[in-house]
Symmetry: C2
Subunit: 543 residues, 2 copies
């Protein structure tokens, strides 16, 4: 027997056209380099996006060819999210925080034909253009000044294209629409290629009520850069639901974000923990009547914020909850589109004590629909979900990558039965909550026992004087490895090793689990995606 | 360039296994024939469902073969929803409200191999068993009494199967999982066959925040029978999100439902307008201190209710809103899985006056994602979305049927370019809201102008004395057709034609649009799915 259902492919073009038809008056707000706000309606965005598709077709772009973007978060970047696939192209978001050499290497590896770049990022382009020859460089006049001679002006180029001339080409749902490179701290970055299918499925799952819970009445402020795992997929969700969008442009400092949230209060936001730590510190400091910014900011009451990219300390969740803002921790990676797990308040926790809810909120969460997840122990067997047994997280599903662009599938990254090896080590409890204990390569093996650097970091960051803490392994003759804690003390505070050890003992760490040594540093070095750059720390403190 | 995403098919088996792993303690409550409640945990349901799959495999069920159900809404029917597909079978829900001859014809047309039937429905089975020979008849002892000799006892059969023996067979995502017959008022019923893919996509779309908004913390009470378009797909959504389920069993009278809602307060419910009309009438009557049921019921404050299957009068929406219950109107049909449009409060209506919000809530709603929708005028052209122009609603998408089981694709049902012709006539306004003006065959053409029977019905049902109103066309020598209103007056009320006409004039009907005649009847005849059976009315009042 056969299904009688229509054979209609999933397509971003459907999402684009639907938004144009159903949400014409909804708003997209972008912050310019001079901090002024520019507003577009969905109707305008829709026509501009169609014009972009027509303009790319005019350049002779062929199905599957890459169009790179080097842009901040703004409406034109959102045009690229839909306009490039509408032209049959693949949007390749370049990460402007990488070293220029690395950006150039990535553009060459992806064989990008076209580059769409913010005018304010042309100096960066200048630093890597010798490494890859784009056929066309289109400059978006983000700052409002005229585009330098020798470049195509995005606005003029769009203006010369006819939005009504665009006719969506038939495509398979497995055809590619976007590409991101992983920010591996070891080895060369590798390209992950998303399809219409994976993007739509990820968006539908992530939009569900327990996760993003995205509705047309939401106001979404994506602090996460649009070049990080497609802004965690949220722009697709906004356009699918017809939500209002507020883009911060290049202004990602805590004070700038507090200004923007006060001007255009979001109901949903997203970013890495560092962003939220900085914001709550700036906001709290300004509560002092003597502070120069006193009274300037209003936190958006009732906002939910997706936080991910690194573990979210429980203390941060509690701090925001006190202001009526709920941090919803997600776990995932570029390879998983990215949302693979969310730490939402499950029905089973409804009557649990508040301390229990916070404890779960600080975990990596529960696997989302369409993601199969298992934890594989050292013995190659699935570890039981008992909250104790640990293993490497392995995942499988229609929005999980099964390989990398032009890289042979390796056993280091994929199991023989086709699951992605994430490199994260976790336990899963009886309610399905993942607790990341470490990265495989960050585990500390002391005297035959594992010590979780992540647990130590979270506990240390719960100390009132500690702004940030990163724990690495140092070699030890007797114990093989011992933990070293690199700690950043908050301005105006002090704390010594003895006080921090006492705090850890209070938090139920065993004596042998305490750091062997503390290093007090000015800042934890970070990767371009905002994660603790432990490789760098290991170089700084080799022993 | 190729996507790097994994090729993993959408599968109900994933949803089944995920629910077993993540929501073991969540509850499924079912009301038995004796009105007692029986409770199962998801963990129990999960093991029973796996046992069902193993038991069906034990019968030699092959991929794609049909297993019919003749059951009320309860936990065992939910086991069929996942257990039959888990065995590779196709769940075919028989509509117990049809005439026995029709049920038998449908079972034969579908070539059902197995029947799973409630013990309380065995008398009905006896009335059609001569029309189709099931190879196996399994009786669910719903009433708790022992199963008659000669039948297999569902409980004993399940108990003899090993839940751990079930291994999901590989399948395509386009493989069939369920089958429903349309309740055509003309011609033979026709089978619609859903797939893993269509079911998962429909579920994900319908779960979105603006539509069902289903979360794990929800309590779902499906009043809609599980044999109507798969209970509008909601059981799949509940299992996907881990929501609590409350099944009413055979007790669908307003007073029974009020009892159940008082015992197990739902946050989300669903049913046809008649159900809600009956409930609000019973509840309102009981507000009188002299009423025998005074103080017995509590309406679930904050509940949302999906209402569909027939137009929802604005007066009904207002009546429930006064009690803190929001009726969310959906539009669709068996052919559309069924949710194709939802009348949710769009962001654009946020600052609109209340009267405007109610007006839209009483419309059929906005097309949901993955559904392409157009209205085709008599001229074969797409009518503009201006709130005035009308045309037939035509839809297309991955959860819309493109044909019927073993019926050649006809031009009456499908356009040459592959869209489903729904037979409903509507306008769409600038915000994308569908207003159904009529069924194509129910339009009244008077003097060259169309009169909407639905508009007349809605307005008449807004009159305080009118319980129900159905309007049909009667032949007229001068005007070709004229409207005839068949009206049911509420007990204890009176209203005459003159008063009803005055009411219509007040509601902005033109004089020529008023019914030519009124017939005061005891009840509007209904189809088995609860829709006004206009064919019957036309037979009753041929002129």
């Amino acid at each position: 027997m056969l299904t009688t259902m229509m054979d209609v492919p999933l397509s971003l073009n459907h999402v684009l056209e639907r938004a144009g038809a159903l949400f014409p008056t909804q708003e997209i707000v972008s912050r310019r380099p001079d901090k002024s706000l520019v507003r577009h309606s969905y109707a305008q965005w829709h026509r501009r996006t169609r014009a972009l598709a027509a303009a790319l077709a005019g350049l002779g772009l062929q199905q599957g060819e890459r169009v790179a973007t080097l842009c901040w978060n703004h409406h034109a970047h959102l045009e690229c999210y839909f306009g490039i696939p509408a032209a049959g192209g693949v949007m390749h978001t370049l990460n402007l925080r990488l070293a220029p050499e690395e950006i150039g290497w990535i553009a060459a590896d992806a064989q990008d034909r076209v580059l769409i770049v913010d005018d304010v990022l042309l100096p960066l382009y200048g630093q890597f253009k010798h490494l890859h020859a784009f056929e066309h460089v289109i400059v978006f006049p983000f700052s409002g000044t005229s585009v330098p001679a020798g470049f195509t002006d995005y606005e003029a180029w769009l203006g010369s294209a006819d939005p009504d001339a665009w006719v969506p080409a038939p495509h398979l749902e497995t055809d590619p629409v976007a590409m991101c490179y992983t920010s591996g701290t070891t080895g060369r970055p590798k390209g992950v290629v998303y399809s219409h299918r994976s993007t739509l499925l990820h968006t539908l799952v992530a939009c569900m009520g327990d996760f993003w819970g995205l509705k047309g009445s939401d106001v979404l402020l994506p602090v996460t850069p649009m070049f990080h795992a497609n802004c965690w997929g949220t722009p697709y969700g906004a356009i699918l639901t017809g939500a209002k969008l507020v883009f911060p442009g290049p202004h990602l400092h805590p004070e700038d974000l507090l200004d923007l949230m006060t001007l255009e209060p979001p109901t949903l936001s997203l970013g890495v923990p560092t962003i939220w730590m900085g914001m709550i510190q700036a906001y709290s400091a300004a509560q002092d009547p003597a502070h120069p910014q006193h009274g300037r900011w209003k936190l958006p009451q009732g906002m939910r914020s997706l936080v991910g990219g690194a573990a979210v300390p429980e203390s941060l969740i509690r701090a925001f909850d006190a202001h009526g803002i709920w941090l919803l921790q997600g776990w995932g990676m570029t390879e998983t589109s990215p949302l693979a797990a969310v730490s939402y308040p499950k029905a089973e926790l409804r009557n649990a004590p508040q301390v229990e809810r916070y404890r779960r909120a600080a975990m990596a969460g529960v696997p989302v629909p369409l993601v199969d997840l298992r934890i594989r122990g050292d013995d190659g067997q699935d570890a039981p979900w008992n909250g104790q047994a640990v293993g490497e997280i392995q995942v499988r599903g229609p929005f999980i990558t099964g390989g990398y662009h032009e890289v042979p599938v390796s056993e280091e990254k994929f199991t023989p039965d086709g699951w992605l090896r994430t490199g994260d080590v976790a336990s899963v409890d009886t309610l399905g909550f993942l607790r990341i204990t470490d990265r495989t390569k960050d585990l500390i093996k002391s005297g035959g026992e594992w010590i979780s650097s992540v647990d130590l970091e979270n506990a240390l960051m719960g100390h009132p004087a500690v702004a940030e803490a990163a724990v690495i392994a140092i070699p030890d003759e007797k114990w093989s490895e011992r933990p070293l804690a690199c700690v950043v003390i908050k301005p105006g505070h002090t704390a010594e090793a003895a006080a921090l050890n006492a705090h850890l003992l209070q938090n139920h760490f065993a004596k042998w689990q305490l750091p062997e040594r503390y290093e007090f540093i000015a800042a934890v070095p970070r990767t371009s995606t905002g994660k603790f750059w432990k490789l760098k720390l290991r170089q700084m403190f080799p022993n």
